[in-house]
Point group: C2
Chain length 209, copies 2
């Protein structure tokens, strides 16, 4: 079974979240164009993504919502749980901790870290905060495979190196510092300043027309 394109993975993640909502509303079936409408993309795009899952609709009824959620999960989720740590409990880290916590049963936020010793032992959304010095120990004891970096720019590289050294498998980097990690570590970077500059550029362009 082939690895899915990154863009498809992104959309599947979004499909699933919408479908879970629909399930709550007791929607049993959904057409590609309906799902497309919700996500604001094209119906072909939806069908193509689902085709990559080998998932078919029930003729003239659409895709069965519950089963589709199940199939997306089979493809996206690890069978066992994946444990996540967030490093840096400033505003951004705190926001992420509450955003991400509990949102997916197979993705558990199991540890938070901060350099500030005062935060030691504190709980945010029910997850314990450890001092940075215990990073290695906790990663091992809690089997953390994914690290989310939300520390100040200056410590980003150091934190990434520590994570890698302690066997982390994936990093989600929210600092503006591009990281350099071994190829066996999955890396996803997100730079908020770049996003803002991008919007600003297209605003400017659209006004010049």
């Amino acid at each position: 079974m082939d690895t899915l394109p990154g863009k498809t993975v992104e959309r599947l993640s979004q499909y699933r979240r919408r479908l879970l909502n629909l399930l709550d509303d007791n929607v049993e079936y959904i057409f590609s164009h309906e799902l497309a409408e919700i996500i604001q993309i094209s119906a072909v795009q939806v069908r193509r993504d689902l085709m990559l899952l080998g998932f078919s609709s029930v003729h003239r009824k659409g895709y069965p919502v519950e089963m589709l959620i199940e199939v997306i999960g089979q493809r996206l989720d690890d069978e066992k749980e994946q444990n996540v740590a967030i490093i840096g409990m400033g505003n951004l880290g705190t926001a992420l901790a509450s955003y991400l916590n509990g949102i997916r049963p197979k993705l558990k936020i199991v540890a938070l870290f901060d350099i500030d010793k005062k935060k030691e032992g504190m709980e945010i959304v029910g997850v314990k905060c450890y001092p940075f010095s215990e990073l290695g120990k906790v990663i091992k004891s809690k089997r953390v495979s994914i690290g989310v970096i939300t520390v100040p720019q200056t410590s980003a590289k150091k934190v990434a190196a520590q994570l890698v050294k302690n066997g982390i498998k994936g990093i989600l980097n929210f600092t503006h510092i591009p990281l350099n990690v071994p190829s066996n570590v999955s890396l996803e970077e997100y730079d908020m300043i770049t996003s803002l500059e991008k919007v600003a550029y297209f605003v400017k362009e659209s006004q010049e027309k």
Copy 2:
């Protein structure tokens, strides 16, 4: 002069930020492979992007840093300032306000908004917080062209509609709710849950190999 590809805009934004650092360190020239190394991309990619700017190196010395910053600015920035408002002063909004504030001279954070009346009049990184009810008024008086949405999921659509109604030109959406805006409004969406699920997927995949 053609509109640049979105990906190129993203990289130009990053080049510029690194170049500004280099300038502080009195670096006068930089080779494509050096800049590439810093951003963790290929040298060809850098040269191609700069080619789109019509910007040439000084033979065997590399690209003049200061002039390159200037040229990127000419292309990315609006001549006049672009004013930005952040709507939703929870942890995420607060983090963004301090991240983004002052980072680019031509992109000014001029207003913050929150539903909570207690925050009215408060200042975060020197920017004033207004109650949500004054959105329209402030957008007009401060000539806000870009809105950053960091409110809870449930209010995202309402806020977006308000922004659009008040003539906003660009939206950066940090909620998980896909927004539907008229085509004359530039929209950039960023979903942190999707990013985390994406890393998790590629971690899983890499372990299966």
